[in-house]
Amino acid sequence: MAAQHSIQLPADDIRAVWQSAGLSNGVLGGLRSAALDEFLHAGLPGTRNESWKYTNIKRLADELTDYLQYKAPAEPDGSAALDLPDAIHLTFVDGVFSPERSDQKGLPDNVKLTSLADLAEAEPATLQSLFGRLARTHDSALVALNTAFAGNGVALVIADGTTLARPVCITYRSSQANAAAQPRLLVSLGQGSKATVVEHFCSAHPVFVNPVAELHCAADSSLDYYKLQAEHAETWHTAVQYIAAENNARIRTTHVDYGGALARNELKLALKGRGAHAESRGLFMADGTRHVEARLDVRHEAPDTTSRERYRGILAGRARGVFNGRIYVGQDAQKTAAELTNRNLLLSKGAEINTKPELEIYADDVKCAHGSTTGQLDATSLFYLLSRGVDKPTARNMLITAFAAELLTDISVPIIAELARNALESLQADTGGIRT
C-alpha cells in the first residue's frame, strides 16, 4: 500500500463503540465528543506524515475498532509496582485508575490526589481547568483519541510551597489482551512546590496503550519525572507528555524505554517562564524486530531559559530506533542556552536508527548546540578488555552497560537504573548478526 498522509478509519464503527462505552456523559462528555469528531476527521497518521515517516501503524489502524471495543478491566496480570517502599503507589488497569489498588491515605494536607471521576463530582471547575490545559487535541490524532476515550484518570495537585518528599509512582497494568488503554494523568505543581513522579508502563498482554500526561509546573517549582516503558513484547505504545515550566521552575525528565512491539514517546516541554530550566535524558533500546522511538519537542518561550537534552539509543537484532529532537527558541527567548545530543549504538548488522536533532531559532542572543553520533561498539576498547582475559560476551556487555551507565547516574529512583541494566543484559543475548 502506498504511503499516505493519514489512514482512514471505519468512522461509524468507532463512533458506535464510543457511544456504547458511555463516554458522552459527565463533565468531560463534551470534550470527549469534540475530540472524537476531531480524531475521526483526522484519521491515524500515515507514513507520508513527516513525523510518522518511520513509524508505520497501519496494522494498528486495521485493528483499532477491536481494540477500542469496551472491555471491563479485570484482575491485572504480570509485574506489580516498582520496589519503592517510600512511594505513594497508584495503579491503572487497562488505562483506568483503580482506587482499590492505590494508596490514597497518608498524604500531606497540601497534596490532593483524586480520580478524575471524583474530581468531576467535587470540583468540576478544577477538572475543567486541568484537563486539556496543556494537551491539544489538534496536536496529534492520538491525543484526540486519548481524549475521546479517556476513562477515569488521576489528578495530582500540589499546593504552593509544598514539598512532596515521597515519590508518586503510577503503575499501568493490563488485565486482558487486545484492550486499548487511554490513561490520562494531570499534575499541577504549585509555586515553589516539589515532587517526583514516576510512570511505569508494564502491560502483560498484547494491548494498545495511548497515554497522555499533562504536568504544569508553576514558578519556582521543581519536578523530577521518570517514565519507564517495559510493555509486553507485542504491545503498541504511543505516549505523549506535556510539561510546562513557569518562571524559574526546574524540570528533570528521565525516560527509559525497552518494551513493546512499537513504542513511541513524545515529550513536549515548554519553558514558558523566565529562567526556567530543563534537563531531559532518555535511554531507549530494542531488539528483535521492535520499533522504539523517542521524540522531543522543547520550546524556549521566555528569556534566560536553559535546557540540556541527552538521549541514547541501543539497537540490536533487526530493531529500528527513531530519535527526533527539536529545540525551538522563540523570538523573546534571549539568553537561551540549550544543548541537545543523541548517541546511538548499533549492536547488529540488521539494526537501524534514524536520528534527527533540530534547532529552530528566532532569537539572536542564544547559545545552542546539537549533535548526534551513531556507531558500533568501539573495537579498540573491546580488544583491550579481551586482552585482559574477559570473554567476548562479557566484554561487550561491559561496554554496552557503560554506554548506558553514563546517562543513568544521579537517579533518585535507583530501581529504574537497575531495570535498565537488566534489560540491557537481555538485549545483549540477542545475538542475531552480531557486530564486533
Binding site: 586482552s387 585482559r388 574477559v390 570473554d391 567476548k392 562479557t394 561491559m398 552497560t401
Partner: protein, 250 residues
Amino acid sequence: MIIDISNLHASVNGTEIIKGLNLQIGPGEVHAIMGPNGSGKSTLAQTLAGKSDYEVTAGTVTYKGADLLALEADERARAGLFLGFQYPVEIPGVSNVYMLKAALNARRKAKGLAEIDSVEFMRFVREKAKLMQLDQSFLSRGVNEGFSGGEKKRNEIFQMAVLEPDLAILDETDSGLDIDALKVVANGVNAQRDGERAFLLITHYQRLLDYIKPDYVHVLANGRIVRSGTHELALELEANGYDGVLAAAG
C-alpha cells in the same frame, strides 16, 4: 620454552608489516626489542595478543607448547599472555576494579581455581596498587579515564601485577614516564620476576634496561629481527643510533 615464534609474517589491510620474524623466549628470561619507529614492534605485540586486524599469513607461534594462533585474544590472556599497551585505552563507565575482577576470575577459572572472594580481591588489588604507587581512587575510576600518560602506564603494570601472567609483553611502557615513575614501573616488573615468568620489553630507551636487566636485546627493523645481542647491544644503539647498527648488520 615459553614462546617460540618462527618465520612469522603478519599483514594489516593487505600490507605486510612483520616479514619473517623468529624469536624464542625461555622461562624467566627478559628480552628487549628495540627498533626504529614504524618497524613493526607494536604490530608484533598486538599480533601476539590476538588483535583481529592483524592477519598472520605465514609462520607459527608456539606458546607453552600449544598453537597460540589458534586462540582468540581473550583465550590467550587467560592462558597467561599479557600485553601492556603502548596506548592504553580509556573506557569510561567500566571501572578499573570491575574489569580487573572479571579478568582475574576468568584467568582463575581457566586455571581451574575458584572465583576470588571479594574481600580477598580488594586486599590483593590494594596491595598491588600501593606497589605501583597508584592512589586507591584510581581503582574505582573508569578504566584509564582521564588518567595522565604516566598514570596509564602505571595502570598497565598494575594490571599485570594483578593478573600475574606467564609472558608479559610491555609495549613502550617506559615512554612518557618521569624518572621516578620509571623506577616505580621497573620495580613493578622486577617484583614479578620469579625465574619462570618471561618478559618482552619493547622500548626506545636503554635507560629502562638499566633498571630491568635484559638477558637479550633484539633490533627489529622492517618487520624482521636484524640483530640480537646482550645488554651491550642496547648501549651500542644508544651510542651509534640505528643507522650505524643497521649498516653494520648489512
